[in-house]
């Protein structure tokens, strides 16, 4: 008989409510029925495993995926992926996507009247190293208008997607930039009650990762759900006849 050690559930207030009326798109898409609490089983404590080779070596440099360099301010976005127990999460896939410097996505549904950049696709991938570190070279994305309310503008942001070690640790989030004046007005940023938790989505300018004559560094650490400290009371058989 093997015991299963589940992953921690969200600390109250640190994750968004599903229905957040000021984010208009949530009104018809947020579930309204109560959620069913599911104890973690083998299905939740396992999850997709990706070999580091899945990611092309050039995939972490969004400025070198085309014949020329993209327009905009070159930046380095780096940080560590840790779990809630402060342990690094090694060899996990990190995916990012973003608008170009003019605030336009390379996507057919993006109708913002701003130019596309033939040298910028806006997507990247990396796999964390043994210490949970990742590093992207990209350009600072532009702010852009959206239809949520009158004169609505999204703050500059980069989308992040992470898997972590288990189905239970999957995370999709957005990274913002220190000092962006639009942040306090953004309904998506503001969807989380806990102010400290919200503010952890804001990357910090960082001298240490700034490369002289090359690019400013921004630091963004990401925390994934960590293991419970004690095994769940439930048990599993490896095999059952």
């Amino acid at each position: 008989m093997k015991s299963i050690r589940g992953y921690r559930r969200n600390y109250p207030g640190t994750q968004p409510r599903h229905l957040h009326p000021s984010y208009v798109s949530s009104l018809k898409r947020a579930p309204l029925q109560p959620f069913v609490t599911l104890p973690h089983t083998l299905s939740e404590i396992t999850g997709p495993v990706f070999e580091p080779e899945i990611v092309d070596v050039k995939a972490c440099d969004l400025t070198r995926q085309h014949s020329e360099e993209p327009l905009g301010e070159r930046i380095i976005v780096s940080g560590r992926v840790l779990d809630e127990n402060s342990k690094p999460v090694p060899r996990t896939l990190v995916e990012i996507w973003q608008a170009n410097a003019a605030g336009r996505y390379l996507h057919s549904r993006d109708q913002h009247n701003a130019p596309l950049d033939p040298n910028f696709a806006g997507c990247g991938q990396a796999v964390t190293d043994s210490e949970g570190r990742y590093r992207f070279v990209t350009i600072r994305p532009g702010e852009y208008p959206w239809g949520n309310h009158h004169n609505a503008w999204r703050p500059a942001h980069i989308h992040f997607s992470l898997f972590g070690p288990a189905f239970a640790t999957r995370l999709v989030t957005q990274m913002y930039f220190q000092g962006d004046p639009l942040i306090p007005f953004d309904p998506i940023f503001n969807c989380t009650d806990d102010e400290k938790a919200r503010n952890r989505l804001i990357s910090q300018f960082d001298w240490e990762t700034t490369v002289p004559l090359e690019a400013l560094g921004y630091r963004f650490d990401i925390i994934l759900s960590g293991r419970e400290s004690t095994p769940l009371e439930t048990h599993t058989h490896g095999e059952k006849s």
Binding site: R29, Q33, V36, L38, E95, H159, R200
Partner: protein, 189 residues
């Protein structure tokens, strides 16, 4: 020291840029053992309108009930060529579709086996967090003793069980209703 997991944010409408390189709609490649199933469905919003900017990810065991993951302690052989992971976007009509194999039963609480199921994540514009649900299989006697299904109000249980489609063997339908009449059961994990 104890940290808190980073706050989730919506995938927004433009996730295709970041996700399409890893779209996987066929988990049942040549040589993968098991009964083939093709699961097709739609994501619908609270007005019954299709959601054209959604994405469904699945995670499942192989036909023997073994996960391709180091934390699966079961003494069963792995299966090269079967990762258990799928990722499919919805189209303009909110439709998604993937081909896989029906997984074997995996252990659940108290040493009892769970009914065959896929673990599912749903992301769309408008969802600030991922939604977690499961797909179970029709005509599967073990559904009656599955611990997760038993946690669900019997009236809503059917939202977790795929239906047979007419046509080819193994053709199944399973829809995601985000809100309102027939709302899919979502799990807090």
């Amino acid at each position: 020291m104890s940290l808190h997991a980073t706050t989730s944010q919506t995938v927004g409408p433009f996730f295709k840029i970041g996700f399409s390189w890893l779209y996987r709609d066929n988990l049942a490649g040549p040589g993968v053992a098991g009964e083939r199933v093709e699961i097709a469905g739609r994501i619908l919003d609270g007005d019954g309108k299709p959601v054209p900017d959604g994405i469904v990810e699945i995670w499942q065991a192989n036909a023997q009930g073994k996960y391709a993951h180091p934390d699966d302690p079961q003494d069963k052989p792995g299966e090269p060529g079967f990762s258990g992971y799928g990722r499919v976007p919805t189209d303009d009509e909110g439709r998604f579709r993937f081909t896989t194999i029906k997984p074997g039963r995996v252990p659940g609480p108290d040493g009892k086996l769970q009914a065959p199921h896929l673990a599912v994540s749903v992301f769309t514009r408008g969802l600030l967090r991922r939604l977690v649900t499961r797909i179970y299989f029709p005509d599967e006697p073990s559904n009656a003793e599955d611990f997760a299904l038993s946690l669900v109000d019997p009236i809503r249980r059917g939202t977790l069980i795929a239906k047979k489609r007419t046509g080819a063997a193994g053709a199944l339908e399973w829809n995601v209703v985000l809100q309102g009449q027939g709302e899919t059961v979502f799990f807090d994990i």
